[in-house]
Every structure is written in structure tokens, then in C-alpha cells.
């Protein structure tokens, strides 16, 4: 493992995955690439923890999976957000916003 990337903050990986998948079904690499791009390279995920997290979310019933062919016709496992997953995303999003704005307020005060 190389240590050059900023690890995803503990507990936010689930939120990032759910959010990413709310746009469209994607495979593991697609999710990683999207997270990286959108965060402008701040977050880099390693495949081990990402795929493990996907399994966990799938077993929790928030995601479904399907083997499909990609554009260059290679079979890959695609993940789809379920209805419960959507609800979960809303809950987690609201939660995150609350925390983030609280932290932001605190930091403004300090400054």
C-alpha cells in the first residue's frame, strides 16, 4: 500500500458511495474514480476497503449488485442503490451536513 493519498475519513466512505451511486449504477472502479474526481484528488480510496464496504452495504440492503458488460465489453460487478439505500443516503446526508456546519461554525469562531 502506498501512503500518498489522503484516506477517506472514517465513516464517510459509506456516504460517498451512496451519494455516488444515487446518480447511476456503477462498478467499483467507477465509484473510486468518481470520488477522486469530484473531490479533486483529495480522497483516494484503496480497492480493498472500497470493495469490502460495498459488500457491507449490499448485505445491509442498501445496494443491489449485478454483473453487466462495460463499454469495452468486459464483465464487471455493478452496484445499484436500493430504495432503503436512498432513504439511508438522505439520513446520512442530513447528518453529515449538520456535523459539517457545526464544525465549520466552530472553526470560524476560532478564526
Amino acid at each position: 500500500m502506498t501512503g500518498q493519498k489522503t484516506d477517506v475519513i472514517q465513516g464517510t466512505l459509506d456516504l460517498l458511495i451512496l451519494k455516488t451511486l444515487s446518480l447511476e449504477p456503477m462498478h467499483g472502479f467507477g465509484i473510486a474514480r468518481r470520488v477522486e474526481q469530484v473531490s479533486r484528488g483529495v480522497f483516494k480510496v484503496n480497492p480493498g476497503s472500497l470493495l469490502t464496504a460495498l459488500q457491507r452495504l449490499e448485505r445491509a440492503g442498501w445496494l443491489d449488485s449485478q454483473w453487466r458488460n462495460t463499454e469495452n465489453s468486459r464483465r464487471a460487478k455493478f452496484y445499484i442503490l436500493t430504495r432503503t439505500g436512498k432513504k439511508q443516503l438522505e439520513i446520512q446526508e442530513a447528518d453529515w451536513n449538520r456535523r459539517a456546519s457545526a464544525v465549520a461554525r466552530l472553526l470560524r469562531q476560532e478564526a
Binding site: 472502479f29 480497492p47 470493495l51 460487478k77
Partner: protein, 879 residues
């Protein structure tokens, strides 16, 4: 939904492991390919792209492994792997595995069997409705405690009691059985009409007795046992309402009892568990001085406690005394005991002792297994060290050891369950008399749980030993030493273990010695008669003439020396006849205080069973109602009533001549002879003195014929049966049985206990000796170098052997010392089981000490020989 997914996905992971792994591989590889492709798009060469991707994604295998280990099913899989590893380890060292499994198996198995007994005798409630409210009511009067009650007493108690909602009575007699087939003898229960309801919710067929059966002109009714109904009435479903012939007429069958109905009464009550049929007797005031023959059972009212019942019975006893029953007996009390407690009163202590003994065995077994595991952990120290060096975490190592220990213990538990089951079958097959009341012993779930609990507990304890070695691993040092040395601390802990084993085995040996000695003493007891070549059978006879006819007919058989008869066989304690007696000139208030066993006999009885006439004469044909009424008494009664003088010609008052079916009128009898006391109840205790009266004065419906033969007579049983049938007098008889088997039954319990104790001791000794042997031979292996050096510098073989023996005898001596103290404290607990030997018998102690020394010396011999066979050159070369 998500829980469901957890389960199904997990199961899929377990069952279709390869498929899942392949998917994961595929996914990870796809990720890697995409990463590589992305780098290639940025213009890197194939090779560089691949390298960059690898740098970004990390090790492919690590990633795969990380994804694979997700999920609960992996915990199970690791456990499985640990178990497989444990299995391999055990297979690699089968001697260890078999020894450990057997040691635990024997220990746990013995515990299971004994626990099953404790469970069915002490823990399980009696199989009766509201059995916790059932109590035994006994009276104490004069010098006899636990005496049966009279009908008068029962009537008075029922009139006065508030704490009991029912008080019922039973007495059991020997009678002819109704039904088809050969005439047969059986047990008849005479009960009050409220009796059966206390022991059984409802009959299988028909009804129980009720108040209507107590009415003056009520027809005679009978309730059949299930067994009798099947055997003698062909399970006739329409039996209720039919009339069957009974003793002196006929009775209407009103009900049949359920199959599992059995009476569980105290040992000394003469109420057997299986009674063939029941008839009811009305409870009336009767006369205050009537005979005591009823065994009472009361049911406490819902809120009533035993203490309240006891207090009430005390005041009732005072009132009964006042209104003149028992003619103002000095020491008259009534007592209530819980039926459950009363029943197990004697058995309880014996069971606890057995429990203690098997617990000892389990402890010895545990100590041995702990020792084995410790030795093995030390042997494997090198291997463990290497595994630790290769990166196995301490937690993983401990988990592995725990799994291995647990697997061993579980296997031991499985063996134990088998052994326990077999042991239980064996114990029940032997049927010791004190446990006769529990036909329903079976291994049950609680026992299983108990065994498993023990197994888990042991594995926790036993695992402590090897874990301590893992926790103290010092890698560098241990790798250098290559695990071939012992420390003082370790050898001290093995000394403690062996000392404990020897001490435990010693205590068991002392207890066994005492019990075996007791049995030997019981074997030597003179029962007061000579049972060799004497046979007996029970017969129902209507009157004196028929009895004499039977006697004459049997005497005429070839090979028969003499034939006589007695109402109650010695040492056959089911059904008894005893009553008050007093000698001439005793004041009224002293009259109903002393009881004697009463026996009705024909002339020639004492000769036939080989009893000894000490003074006077036997009965003759002319000792009947028309002549002077006479009796024979035993030496104990003679000494008690007329110490220092001859009893012959003196008068005693007893109940002899019959008035009504079961009552006897009081009359004076003249003593014409004194016989040696015959053991009537047990071989070890003299319960009551004896009074013999001629059958013509005291006819009884059922008699035991006793037949003495000259040597062995072929086909005696069938010729006896034919001879009696030829009389054509309708005399029902039981199987012919040698009188010696009655004695064997009386010895059964002591034999059972001494055999069991011997078995337990042998197991314990073997385990302890095995422990000594194991520890010493391992120690010899460890000290090979030392012994080699000693030999090289000129030590003699004797000195080397002395070295080994000294190491072995230290814990043995310590163990014997500890065991002696332990025994001195605990052996008095055995006192109630012992006969003619004191718990502190020095002979037993001495023998046990010698036995342990000699046996452990033998166990040490092999390691000692091993030591002197060490080749000094090779031993040193190894180092």
C-alpha cells in the same frame, strides 16, 4: 430484510465458497485493469502503467484477502481451520489424544451417571400431583419411632386436623390374585377411600374409590393395577363393572390404574412400589386400643406448611392420649415428614458420598490432563516460538490452544456420555435395594447440560496451563534453547499436581477399604438360620387343614427332608406383623410401649430353616386353641423380660387369636421355648425381638412354605407345583426360590457399594499412577544430559535409579500425608454405611499407605529403567 441478506449471503459464502472467491478475484482484477487502463490513457507505456497501477492499488492479493475476510461466515471458517489443525495435532500424537480423552471421558462419565442418580432421587419431584404437599405421618410411642397408626388414630386426626385437607392410609398384605391363568400370589393394598387420589390424577379406566364405597351396605369393590389388568385380564377394555372372584367372595372392578402408577414410600414402611390391586376400607372410629398397621399419607392444605402441620399434630397427639387411645402411653407423638425427603432420607447421604468420589476422579483426571497439556506445550515450545516469530499473534496462538483443548474436552465429553449411559444401565441392572424405588432413571437433558458444563469448565481450567507458556514466550531466548530445558517453577507445579492426585486417590482408597471390609463383615454375619438346601414359596391357604395337607404332600416328595411354614420370611421386608407385648404384672400405663415382630408358624419351622432352639421345645400338633396357648420367643426378648432367669413357663400378653379378618384378640401365652434371634429385616441391625405363635392360634391368609432338601433335587420346582395342583384345593403359589437368594438380596446394597467403590478406586489409582509415570518419564527425558554427565563421571546405576525414585516419591509422600489428614476429617461421613468397623480403622490406613507406596513404586520403575539405559556418550553428544 438486511438480516435476511446477512444470513443468505453468509451461507452462500460458506457453501459456495469458490464461486464467491472467484467473483471477488474478478472484481479486484477488474479494478486493477481499469486503473492500468486509466494510466495508459494518460500516455504511459503498458509496463509503466502496470507499475503505477500497482503502486496505487497496493498488493492485489492483500486486497483480495481483505475483501474475502469480510462477513460472519469467516469466523466460522477460521474456527473450522483451527479445529482441523487441532485434529491434525491430536492425530499426530495419538497416545496423548487417547489418554487425555479417556481420562476426561471416565471422569465426566462417572459424574454423569451419578448426577443422573442425584437428579432422579433428589432433584426430580415425585411423580404425583402437588407432590410437594404430600407428607408421611408417623407415630412414635414407647420405644418405637416411625410406627404405623391405628384406624382410631387416623379417624381422630381426620376429625381434628385443619392443616391437612386429606389424610389417607394404606397397608399391604399378600393375597391370591384374581384373574385367569395359574393361581398366583400378589400384593393387595387395603386403602382408605381417599388414598389413590393423592397419588394419581385420574384412573386409566373407571373411577377411584369414593365416599359411596364407605357406606355400610356398599358392595365390595376393587381397583386393578395396569400390570394385573394386562396380565390376568387380557387388557379387557370393558372390565369396569364386572365382578371378579377375590379371597372370600367377589368384588366389582371399578377402575384400572395408569401404567406408570407406582407407590414411592420410605424403605422401612413395608409398602412396595407395585401393588397388584387395591380395596377400600371405611374409616371409622374403631376401638381406641386397636392395632397400628396403617401407613399414613397426608396432603397439606394449599397454604399449610410442614411446620404448621407438625405443631397441629403435636396437639392432636395430646388430645388422642387424653381420650384414652394407646392407654396413656408415656411417650406418644405424631410426626409429619415431607414424602419426598422422607423417601430419600437414607439414600441422600450415600448419593452425596458417591458424588464426592466421582468428583475426586474428575479432579484427578483434570490434573493429569493439565499435566499432559503442560508437558506437551513445553515440548512444542520450539514450534510455538517459530510460529510466533513468523508473525502469529499471541491472540491467534492462544485461540489455537483453546480450540485444541476444547476439542479434546469435547471428545472426552462424548466418550463420557457413552460411558455414563453404559454405567447407568449397569447400575440400574444391578438394582441396589435402596434405589429400588426409582425404576424411572434415564439420562435426561439436564444431565446432558450438566456434562457439557463440566466439559466447558474443565477446558477453561485446563487451557490455563499451556496458555501460561505462550504468554511468557521470549522469542530470542527460546529459539536459542530450542525448548529443551525445564525451570524450577514448572517442576514445582507438576509436583503440586501429582501430590493432589495421590491425596485424592488415597482418600478414595481408604473409603473403599472401609466399604469392602464392611461387606466382608456382612458376609460373615450369622442370620440365625442356615439357608443351604432350603427353598421357599408363598402360598395362599384358606385354613389349617389345607395347610397341613400341603405340608404333608410336600414332605412326601423324594429328596425332601422337612417342610414347614411361616407367615413372614426372615429378611423379606415387604409386609410385616408386629405388635405390643407385655409380661405378667406390668402396670396399665406401661403395657403398650414395647413392640415385637410376630410370626405365625407350623411345628418344624425352626428345624427346617436351621434355626437354633436354645431352651425348651418346638411347637407340636397339639398346641392349638383347645389346649394351653403357647409361644416361642427369641433370646433377646427372654433377656429383656426376665434377665438372669429362665423364660420357660412365664406368661406374656400378645395379640394371637383372630377376631375378624385382620384383627387379633389379646391373650396370654405361656413361653415354652427360646430360640436364637433370627435377622428379620436387615443383616446388620436388630430391629425388634421376636414372638412365634402356632398357626392354629394365628392363621393368616398367605404363608411362606419352607422346604429343606437332602442335597440337590432335580426338578424340585415343577414337582412341588404338580404336587400342590394334585391336591385340587385351589392353592395359589409363587415361584420356588432358594432361601439363600433372600440373603443375597439383603446383602445386595453393601455388595453394590463395595463393588462400586472398588471400581472407582481402581480408576482413581490408575489415573494417579499414570500421572506419576507420565511426569517422571518426561522428567527423565529432560534430564538426559544431566544423567549422562553423572554416568560419565562414574555414578552407579543404583544411584541413578535412586535419583528418579527420589523425585517420584516426594509428591507421593506428600500426597499420602495430605490424604491421611483429609481422610481423618472426611471418613466419619461414611459411618452410617459401615458395619463392625470404625472409620478410623488403623489397619485400613496402613494397608492403603503400603498399597500406594508399592503401586507408585511400580509406576516409577519404567522411568527409572529408562534412566539407567541412557548412553552417556550419546546423551552428551546431543547437548
Amino acid at each position: 430484510m438486511s438480516f435476511w441478506r446477512q444470513v443468505t449471503y453468509g451461507l452462500r459464502g460458506l457453501l459456495r465458497r469458490n464461486e464467491r472467491d472467484r467473483e471477488i478475484d474478478d472484481e479486484v482484477e477488474h479494478y486493477f485493469e481499469e486503473t492500468t487502463a486509466a494510466y495508459r490513457e494518460r500516455g504511459l507505456t503498458d509496463e509503466d502503467a502496470c507499475r503505477a497501477a500497482r503502486q496505487e492499488c497496493g498488493n492485489l492479493h492483500t486486497a483480495k484477502e481483505e475483501v474475502r475476510t469480510y462477513g460472519w461466515e469467516n469466523t466460522i471458517r477460521t474456527l473450522g481451520a483451527d479445529l482441523r489443525f487441532a485434529g491434525r495435532q491430536l492425530r499426530r500424537n495419538p497416545v496423548f489424544a487417547v489418554t487425555a480423552v479417556l481420562m476426561l471421558g471416565i471422569g465426566i462419565g462417572a459424574n454423569t451417571a451419578i448426577f443422573t442418580f442425584v437428579n432422579s432421587v433428589l432433584l426430580r419431584p415425585l411423580p404425583y400431583p402437588e407432590s410437594n404437599r404430600l407428607t408421611i405421618v408417623l407415630s412414635e410411642l414407647g420405644n418405637s419411632s416411625r410406627a404405623p397408626a391405628s384406624m382410631f388414630e387416623l379417624y381422630q386426626m381426620r376429625q381434628r386436623s385443619r392443616t391437612f385437607d386429606q389424610i389417607a392410609g394404606i397397608w399391604v398384605t399378600n393375597r391370591a390374585l384374581p384373574g385367569k391363568g395359574d393361581p398366583e400370589q400378589g400384593k393387595a393394598g387395603e386403602v382408605t377411600s381417599n388414598f389413590l387420589q393423592l397419588f394419581c390424577t385420574r384412573p386409566m379406566l373407571g373411577r377411584f374409590f369414593g365416599p359411596e364405597d364407605d357406606l355400610e351396605n356398599a358392595p365390595s369393590t376393587v381397583v386393578l393395577s395396569h400390570q394385573l389388568w394386562v396380565r390376568k385380564f387380557g387388557s379387557d377394555p370393558r372390565i369396569v363393572g364386572k365382578s371378579v372372584p377375590l379371597d372370600r367372595g367377589s368384588s366389582i372392578v371399578i377402575g384400572v390404574l395408569p401404567q406408570d402408577f407406582r407407590l414411592i414410600f420410605p424403605e422401612d414402611s413395608s409398602v412396595p412400589p407395585n401393588v397388584d390391586y387395591f380395596q377400600s376400607v371405611p374409616i371409622g372410629p374403631w376401638e381406641p386400643n386397636g392395632p397400628g398397621f396403617l401407613h399414613l399419607v397426608g396432603r397439606l392444605r394449599g397454604a399449610g406448611t410442614l411446620a404448621a402441620a407438625q405443631a397441629e399434630l403435636a396437639s392432636i397427639a395430646a388430645e388422642i392420649n387424653d381420650i384414652g387411645a394407646r392407654t396413656k402411653v408415656i411417650n406418644y407423638h405424631l410426626y409429619a415428614f415431607s414424602l419426598q425427603d422422607d423417601d430419600v432420607r437414607e439414600v441422600r447421604r450415600t448419593l452425596y458420598l458417591l458424588f464426592g468420589a466421582v468428583a475426586f476422579i474428575l479432579m484427578i483426571g483434570c490434573a493429569n490432563v493439565a499435566n499432559l497439556l503442560m508437558i506437551r506445550a513445553r515440548q512444542r515450545l520450539h514450534e510455538t516460538t517459530i510460529r510466533a516469530a513468523l508473525g502469529a499473534s499471541t491472540l491467534r496462538l492462544i485461540r489455537q490452544i483453546l480450540t485444541e483443548t476444547f476439542a479434546t474436552v469435547l471428545l472426552g465429553g462424548a466418550v463420557a456420555l457413552l460411558l455414563g449411559w453404559a454405567a447407568l444401565k449397569a447400575i440400574v441392572a444391578v438394582e441396589p435395594s435402596s434405589f429400588a424405588n426409582l425404576g424411572h432413571v434415564s439420562l435426561d437433558l439436564r444431565v446432558l447440560a450438566f456434562t457439557f458444563m463440566i466439559a466447558v469448565l474443565i477446558s477453561a481450567i485446563v487451557a490455563l496451563a499451556p496458555i501460561s507458556t505462550v504468554r511468557h514466550l521470549k522469542l530470542a531466548e527460546d529459539l536459542k534453547r530450542s525448548g529443551r530445558s525445564t525451570t524450577r517453577k514448572q517442576s514445582r507445579s507438576t509436583t503440586v499436581l501429582v501430590t493432589t492426585e495421590v491425596a485424592l486417590a488415597f482418600v478414595l482408597l481408604i473409603g473403599t477399604g472401609l466399604l469392602v471390609r464392611t461387606f466382608a463383615n456382612i458376609l460373615r454375619v450369622d442370620p440365625g438360620f442356615h439357608p443351604e438346601s432350603v427353598f421357599t414359596l408363598r402360598a395362599s391357604v384358606p385354613n389349617y387343614d389345607v395347610l397341613r395337607e400341603v405340608q404333608r404332600a410336600l414332605t412326601a416328595l423324594p429328596g425332601v427332608q422337612s417342610v414347614s411354614t411361616v407367615s413372614h420370611l426372615p429378611l423379606d421386608d415387604q409386609g410385616n406383623w408386629y405388635d405390643y407385648y407385655w409380661k405378667d404384672g406390668v402396670s396399665v400405663d406401661q403395657q403398650n410401649t414395647e413392640m415385637a415382630d410376630m410370626r405365625s408358624v407350623l411345628p418344624g419351622y425352626f428345624d427346617t430353616i436351621g434355626a437354633q432352639l436354645m431352651q425348651g421345645r418346638d411347637f407340636t400338633e397339639s398346641d392349638d386353641a383347645a389346649h394351653q396357648h403357647v409361644a416361642l420367643i427369641d433370646e433377646i426378648l427372654a433377656r429383656r423380660l426376665w434377665p438372669g432367669e429362665s423364660a420357660l413357663g412365664k406368661r406374656i400378653n400378645v395379640s394371637d387369636s383372630p377376631k375378624g379378618p385382620y384383627e387379633f384378640e389379646r391373650d396370654w401365652l405361656v413361653v415354652v421355648g427360646v430360640i436364637r434371634h433370627i435377622q428379620c429385616h436387615t443383616l446388620t441391625a436388630t430391629v425388634r425381638p421376636q414372638i412365634y405363635v402356632p398357626y392354629s392360634l394365628a392363621p393368616r391368609p398367605s404363608m411362606f412354605m419352607v422346604i429343606r432338601t437332602r442335597g440337590t433335587v432335580p426338578h424340585l420346582a415343577s414337582s412341588v407345583r404338580k404336587q400342590i395342583a394334585a391336591l385340587n384345593r385351589n392353592v395359589p403359589i409363587t415361584q420356588l426360590e432358594p432361601l439363600s437368594s433372600v440373603i443375597a438380596r439383603a446383602r445386595a446394597e453393601s455388595r453394590f457399594l463395595s463393588v462400586l467403590a472398588t471400581l472407582l478406586s481402581i480408576i482413581a489409582l490408575q489415573l494417579a499412577l499414570g500421572g506419576i509415570y507420565g511426569v517422571l518419564s518426561y522428567s527423565v527425558v529432560l534430564r538426559t544430559a544431566e544423567i549422562g554427565i553423572r554416568m560419565a563421571v562414574g555414578a552407579q546405576r543404583v544411584e541413578i535409579m535412586r535419583l528418579v525414585f527420589a523425585e517420584g516419591f516426594l509428591p507421593v509422600t506428600l500426597g499420602i500425608a495430605a490424604g491421611t489428614i483429609w481422610s481423618a476429617v472426611s471418613m466419619p461421613l461414611l459411618d452410617h454405611l459401615l458395619f463392625e468397623i470404625r472409620p478410623s480403622s488403623p489397619v485400613i490406613y496402613l494397608l492403603s499407605i503400603v498399597a500406594i507406596f508399592v503401586l507408585s513404586g511400580i509406576a516409577m520403575l519404567v522411568p527409572a529403567l529408562q534412566a539407567i539405559r541412557i548412553d552417556p556418550l550419546r546423551a552428551l553428544a546431543c547437548e
